[in-house]
């Protein structure tokens, strides 16, 4: 049984279609990377998958049931959403921000319990940012905010986490931290779908990749099989080669220009 499945999904807005005919399936324990150039609709696709904006065609199934037939609390217990790092209007404490991830586990009229606070604290500790708990969310750095939003998704205890460019505002060390954490979550049985601008992430971390371009799927499957230099160069509109390093990592490099060497 797939946790999340899209069939012939069209997404966008009534008079402004963004994408069409997207099929994807996500199982528990999988990491799917969504790649695609700027403006190809990665965020719009995510919001459609989560049912935050109405779909324009096709279907979205959660646990093989149409997402439209499920109430939001149910959906939130299956899927957590990590939006791109943003700021809030009001200066919530980081601890409170993470605590909001627990809402779907409580009744409509009840606030967080002791257990919820413990879960939130654990989520912060998991990402090594428990020292931020008392700080104002509005006053920490963009990278820290991203980690807080990920902690909130962890506290949500969902089976699937949808992450919109989780590494975009992170330094190199925190990118590795977050992606390693993603890998740990997947081996613990969670499904993760994340968008990124770095195809290397797909090679290193993803079990499957979905490459979006021109409003629809350009390639989907195992990263090393479908992310060929030809496809990448065409979709990103720049000459790209894929090289295998002696360490076993696959990386994308630009071609057709001379690298700057220290000779």
């Amino acid at each position: 049984m797939s946790v999340l499945r899209a069939e012939g999904l069209g997404f966008g807005y009534p008079r402004f279609p963004v994408g069409r005919a997207v099929d994807l399936t996500l199982q528990a324990g999988e990491i799917m990377c969504l790649l695609g150039p700027n403006g190809c609709g990665k965020t719009t696709l995510f919001k459609t998958l989560l049912g935050l904006i109405p779909r324009q065609a096709g279907r979205v199934l959660v646990d093989d049931r149409d997402i439209l037939s499920l109430d939001r609390r149910h959906i939130a217990r299956v899927m957590a959403y990590v939006p791109q790092a943003h700021s809030t209007v009001f200066p919530y404490a980081v601890g409170d921000m993470v605590l909001m991830g627990r809402t779907a586990h409580r009744g409509t009229f009840s606030g967080p319990t002791r257990e919820d606070r413990d879960r939130a604290t654990a989520a912060l500790a998991q990402l090594g940012i428990d020292d931020l708990s008392e700080r104002d969310y509005t006053q920490i750095s963009g990278g820290q905010r991203q980690l807080v939003l990920i902690a909130r998704a962890l506290a949500q205890d969902a089976r699937l986490i949808v992450m919109d460019e989780p590494t975009a505002s992170l330094d190199f060390g925190n990118q590795i931290l977050v992606l390693n954490e993603v890998r740990k979550l997947a081996s613990a049985g969670l499904g993760v779908v994340l968008s990124t601008h770095n195809p290397d992430h797909a090679f290193t971390y993803a079990t499957s990749v979905h490459l979006l371009g021109d409003g629809t799927t350009q390639a989907a499957g195992r990263p090393i099989e479908v992310l060929t230099p030809g496809v990448l160069s065409r979709v990103y509109g720049a000459p790209i080669a894929v090289e295998r390093l002696p360490s076993g990592y696959n990386v994308c490099v630009p071609t057709g220009l001379s690298a700057t060497h220290e000779t």
Binding site: L50, M79, F90, P91, R106, F109
Partner: protein
């Protein structure tokens, strides 16, 4: 904070042209509670139970309700510059009252008109916003509120022109600036149930209110239904505002600034923000109203004093407060 408010209320009762000490007030209250009201001096009793205490209670109630409504509106609209008037509740109530005064209605009927005018305007704003589709729903709601508010404002001006300039016009103007001078002993009790009904969803949904400030998409992803909650919360905050405005007239500033001051002190979590804002709103309006009745021989409208007292306090907090928002 609550104890401070009680002390403040006791002090406020002692202030006025007829001198009363705190001891006398407590004595009278204890006698009253003990069922032996007759032991208190008759004149003192009249001053306390017919004039001062109803007025102090009204100030507390109006301040608390306006601050609570302002807190909710600011959160829902994710904008710290929003006041309870944004959807036209005060202007609508003003129109209702102006019409009541123009028709020389008794005070109770005028209050009823104000209440209905406030609720009706917001209901109309919501209906218009729901009918307009294809735009950002919050933006449409705010715009509908501004437009219908302006329309109601124009209607108030029209009523003012039609009104008798020696009798009705001053009454309308005075009402639009807000005052508790005409508070009747029964006013608080007739308004209290509405305020209480409005407060129930606010208290029950105080945690969900936090999520509402993140915007619809994020709130939805976290497992709540922002559209349904918004209707309920707007209705509750509007009910509270419309009912207190009916007895106090339009009192600006409290609903805009008290939530800020409370947020500077206790932070934005509604769990603590809502009670803090209500206590501060109640205390603030009590102080302002006490000044209004004690400062000069004639009553000063609240709408003027709230700004005169509130602006320096707010600026001081802004300059010294460490929290951002």
């Amino acid at each position: 904070m609550a104890a401070g408010l009680l002390l403040l209320a006791l002090l406020a009762i002692t202030i006025g042209p007829y001198p009363v000490s705190v001891v006398q007030v407590v004595d009278a209250l204890l006698d009253y509670a003990g069922g032996s009201a007759g032991e208190t001096d008759a004149q003192l009793e009249t001053v306390l139970f017919s004039v001062r205490i109803p007025r102090v209670l009204a100030a507390l109630l109006v301040g608390a309700a306006l601050a609570a409504a302002g807190t909710v509106y600011q959160g829902l609209f994710r904008n710290p510059l929003v006041s309870p008037d944004i959807l036209g509740v005060s202007t609508g109530a003003g129109l209702g009252a102006a019409v009541g005064i123009l028709m020389s209605m008794p005070v109770v009927v005028t209050q009823g008109f104000a209440f209905a005018g406030g609720l009706g305007t917001v209901a109309l704003v919501y209906a218009v916003a729901t009918a307009v589709r294809g735009h950002d729903p919050m933006l449409v709601l705010v715009l509908a509120g501004v437009v219908l508010g302006a329309l109601a404002g124009a209607c108030i001006s029209l009523v003012k022109i039609l009104a008798d300039p020696y009798d009705q016009l001053p009454a309308i103007t005075f009402w639009l600036l807000g005052s508790l001078a005409g508070t009747q002993p029964g006013d608080v009790w007739s308004v209290l149930p509405f305020v209480a009904i409005g407060l129930v969803p606010l208290v029950l949904l105080r945690w969900q209110m936090n999520l509402m400030t993140l915007g619809d998409e994020e709130a939805t992803a976290l497992g709540i239904d922002p559209r349904r909650l918004r209707v309920l919360l707007v209705a509750a905050a509007t009910l509270m505002t419309a009912s207190v405005v009916a007895i106090s007239g339009v009192v600006g500033w409290v609903g805009l600034v008290m939530p800020h001051i409370a947020r500077l002190v206790v932070g934005p979590n509604f769990d603590r923000l809502l009670p803090a804002a209500m206590i501060m709103g109640a205390g603030f309006l009590l102080i302002v109203d006490t000044i209004a009745r004690a400062m000069a021989a004639t009553e000063t409208p609240l709408g003027i004093l709230t700004a005169f007292v509130g602006a320096p306090v707010f600026l001081w907090l802004l300059a010294t407060g460490r929290r951002s928002w």
